[in-house]
Homo-oligomer: 292 residues x 2
């Protein structure tokens, strides 16, 4: 790996640049492209890219790996934009939150001489944009990889190395399975954050409530500070899975509603205890996995 291209220099693209430069130094050239010249300038100043490209074709020219780090619904255009300029034998990967849609576009848009390996780093932050980019963003995170139909083992190996270089743990997973699981673990929480803020911060009672809102509210509403375009694209590209998990959640919340309404303290306590235990087990598992 000598030259990598990053298309899209927001939080994820910028952080990838910073993490790759830190890991590989001068042995790797990172070429960056963003539609915003200001974003490109900031990415260069922060050291996330060695060189800014003026268009997609020159951005991917003679690159071994091309990383598309745009929101999901911009991926088709990005794939079409880079296709003609890709070096034969090169590898394209992406960072989108949903994989089914992107995999289909990649198959339709990319030449057969190029391998596509879908990617999704399970990492995020309260703030978005190149200003929030962070070389440590991927440290210890699960990084999903979904090799395309025609991807060569060498291409998969190259992306695995890239993922390991930035300190993440690669997880090979089927695209459909990925989308099903992240709808529960990531897209459902996202919608809960939005609906919570909508129900509270946009209610007439908010001026009185705001001073009382503390760390619990801050944590539960955190995902509502993410990028609106990204959230919209997630909803558009993973609809059926999201609806399934939303309905499952609504069932549980209505169950709790019933217990609260009828004042069933014992049943509530049992449920709360069981749930706490499940969360503690997950935290322990996370902790065990994060040990070197």
């Amino acid at each position: 790996m000598e030259r990598v291209s990053i298309i899209g220099l927001g939080l994820i693209g910028g952080s990838l640049g910073l993490a790759l430069k830190r890991a590989r130094g001068k042995s790797l050239e990172v070429v960056g492209y963003s539609r915003s010249p200001r974003t490109m300038a900031t990415a260069y100043q922060r050291g996330a890219v060695d060189r800014a490209a003026h268009d997609l074709a020159s951005a991917v020219h003679a690159c071994q790996i091309v990383i598309l780090a745009t929101p999901v619904m911009a991926m088709k255009e990005a794939l079409e934009g880079v296709a003609a300029g890709l070096a034969p034998g090169s590898v394209v990967t992406d960072t989108a939150s949903t994989k089914g849609q992107v995999m289909a576009w990649a198959e339709a848009c990319l030449p057969p001489t190029v391998s596509f390996i879908g990617g999704h780093p399970m990492a995020g932050k309260e703030t978005s944009g190149i200003g929030a980019a962070d070389a440590d963003l991927f440290h210890g995170c699960t990084y999903c990889l979904t090799p395309g139909r025609g991807a060569t083992p060498e291409a998969t190996g190259l992306v695995l190395k890239l993922v390991e270089a930035i300190g993440a743990r690669p997880l090979l997973i089927d695209a459909a399975k990925h989308d099903e699981l992240v709808a529960g673990i990531s897209h459902l929480p996202l919608l809960l954050s939005y609906a919570l803020v909508e129900a509270t911060a946009l209610s007439p009672a908010w001026p009185e409530m705001a001073p009382l809102a503390a760390t619990g509210y801050r944590d539960l509403s955190r995902l509502a500070s993410g990028h609106p375009d990204m959230a919209r694209d997630i909803c558009l590209s993973n609809r059926d899975n999201i609806l399934r998990w939303l309905d499952r959640f609504l069932e549980e919340l209505n169950g709790y509603r019933g217990l609260v309404a009828s004042g069933q303290g014992d049943a509530l306590e049992r449920a709360f205890r069981k749930v706490r235990q499940a969360r503690e087990q997950w935290l322990k598992m996370k902790q065990a996995h994060s040990k070197p």
Copy 2:
């Protein structure tokens, strides 16, 4: 203020002891009581109390301020238990998450020579118990105070000083208003956390999902790691307000569900943008208030 008693030495009671001792040192004696001898021993070892009491009567003997830091539904018993031993002119306060119920119990149980000032520090932590107690827990947090009907101005002044000594910002508020507001800002998020973990971590898909769950899931599920007794008591003592906010939330979430189901990207993006802006404003306000 020379002697303060803390009844209940969990996260909140223990943190109050640590914060008071740090602020006042030897000029203040903190007497502690817990039903668990082990908790009392830990509170003493950690320096949260100067002295452990063997029963409620001796715990409150000759104290200027008595702080009840038990879960809501244990407050009645605690109030009954301390009533006879209270020094005339002393002040009783509590730390319960809901205030209406506790105010009524205090009025019924305490002698007229004693002032009751309800209290609720808007602070919390992922972990509970004396082991998690932290002298910094209240730093910069809003601390609600609801003076009882017969409370003297001197009593209110004394509790205000105590709140300021631990670095919190006192907010005088009516008990009914408090319960209405915290149902939206605190109890609704609590139930969302539980329902999220119930829908995901207790689903058959969990073993596959768990490795993908990252910081977003961790934050949204954080409140589910709180103490189940406390959560149960919140639901039992603030039922009607919780149901109202739950229904408001369900309305919003169902609104989002409709937009996702019909693929209305523009409407989703507009909503997400508006919500993000509301949250950013709240964060700015918080930041401005936390400046010295």
